[in-house]
């Protein structure tokens, strides 16, 4: 097949060209540029609240936009909406499928979503006229598990799946508006850009991809990790993002330079990262690990600045509030902790 051979050769040539172009843009390294920045010192946070109530492993959590309420999902088959200030449970929502892997809080506060091994993204309305919580829409269509979901607004949600695709849904009609294809492994996580025009995905093919939400195109692909990427999160200015992987490293990638800027790792750290989040300025990168801890990294000096130790099992999820005042961690030990 002459054309096939030509195409394969062209692919290799293009990959080489991309490697060369990245090298050409690489005129310095992070440590050099940040050498004059003040070190952050020892970051010590205390557990301020422990949210008790789930009866099994917690798999996901997401803060609401007012930095007070959060939703968590557990394989006890429940979504719980918590008032983190008082530790009260505002809603305890029984799920049709207990195999939940992700949850999301709409920024309006009116909806939460979840999904998992049922391959479906279920939308729950929190503010019904009757005063109860009910399923307002089910979004079937993925042919693999739902690994992550994030609301763009009350009517649009982006999902990532074990079927190697991401999708943008119109919740009212239940239809997939846009399908994002290209990953060659399960997509494990996604993060919306601050301007909501793009999102980044991380997958088991060890790459992250930047997608244009409107036209469905993959704009850039970032290799570097040596194993599954489990978590991605945008840097607050939208120009960079961090990833966490089974290869025991977190990395910082810059979108305009189209390459990896930093790696956050240590010889003592040999377990996978499950979740990542930046502090409000982006100076701190928090990462949850399989070894029950959460490490706090100085993103600019690529050094560990602190540890949040307190869970008795894997830290499966974490999130920083929009106002930057606290971080929540969720664990297989069935508890959520709020720290600052």
């Amino acid at each position: 097949m002459n054309e096939l051979d030509n195409l394969r050769q062209e692919a290799e040539t293009l990959k080489s060209a991309i490697r060369d172009a990245r090298k050409a843009a690489c005129d310095t390294n992070l440590v050099q540029v940040t050498v004059n920045m003040e070190p952050v010192g020892r970051i010590q946070m205390r557990t301020r609240r422990t949210l008790r109530g789930h009866l099994a492993k917690i798999y996901a959590m997401h803060w609401g936009s007012e930095s007070r309420y959060l939703v968590s999902a557990s394989q006890d088959g429940k979504l719980i909406v918590w008032d983190a200030y008082t530790t009260n449970k505002v809603h305890a929502i029984p799920l049709r499928s207990s195999w939940v892997m992700t949850c999301a809080y709409a920024s309006s506060g009116s909806y939460v979503a979840c999904g998992g091994l049922d391959n479906i993204c279920s939308i729950y309305s929190l503010k019904t006229r009757e005063g109860n919580v009910r399923v307002s829409r089910e979004l079937p269509g993925h042919t693999g598990y739902l690994s992550c979901c994030r609301f763009l607004d009350d009517n649009q949600i982006v999902t990532s799946s074990g079927d190697m695709t991401c999708a943008l849904w119109d919740i009212e009609t239940g239809q997939q508006c846009t399908l994002f294809t290209g990953h060659t492994g399960d997509v494990m996580s996604l993060s919306l850009s601050p301007d909501v025009r793009t999102f980044v995905s991380g997958a088991c093919d060890a790459s992250s991809k930047l997608w244009d939400i409107r036209d469905g195109m993959c704009k850039q692909t970032f290799p570097g990790h040596e194993s599954d990427i489990n978590a991605v999160t945008f840097f607050p200015n939208g120009y960079a993002f961090a990833t966490g992987s089974d290869d025991a490293t977190c990395r910082l990638f810059d979108i305009r330079a189209d390459q990896e800027l930093a790696m956050y790792s240590h010889d003592n750290i040999i377990c996978g990262i499950t979740s990542v989040a930046f502090s409000k300025s982006g100076r701190l990168l928090m990462a949850g690990y399989d070894d029950f801890n959460c490490n706090v990294w100085d993103s600019m000096k690529a050094e560990r600045a602190g540890v949040l130790a307190g869970h008795d099992n894997r830290v499966s999820c974490l999130g920083v509030t929009e106002d930057g005042m606290a971080i929540a961690t969720g664990s297989w030990d069935s508890f959520l902790k709020i720290w600052n």
Binding site: R8, V33, R256
Partner: protein, 71 residues
């Protein structure tokens, strides 16, 4: 060409199209990219409570609730 060969060809065409798109983007130098991240951090670090802490615990909405009540 059979159907399987046709679809491998189509797939490979798509892969090459995507690589062409990715190869053609304009890249900014790493030095400029890092400077912009540094600038953003410096402009916002005073409001980053996890970094600088709270001036007083009264400002921390998650401070330990006191056990005293005012009668």
């Amino acid at each position: 060409m059979n159907n399987k060969q046709m679809s491998t060809l189509q797939q490979q065409r798509k892969v090459v199209e995507q690589l062409r798109r990715e190869a053609s983007i304009r890249r900014v130098n790493v030095s400029v990219a890092i400077e912009d991240l540094k600038k953003y951090i410096q402009e916002h670090e005073n409001d980053d409570y996890l970094l600088v802490g709270f001036h007083s615990q009264k400002a921390n909405p998650f401070r330990e609730k006191s056990s005293c009540t005012i009668l």
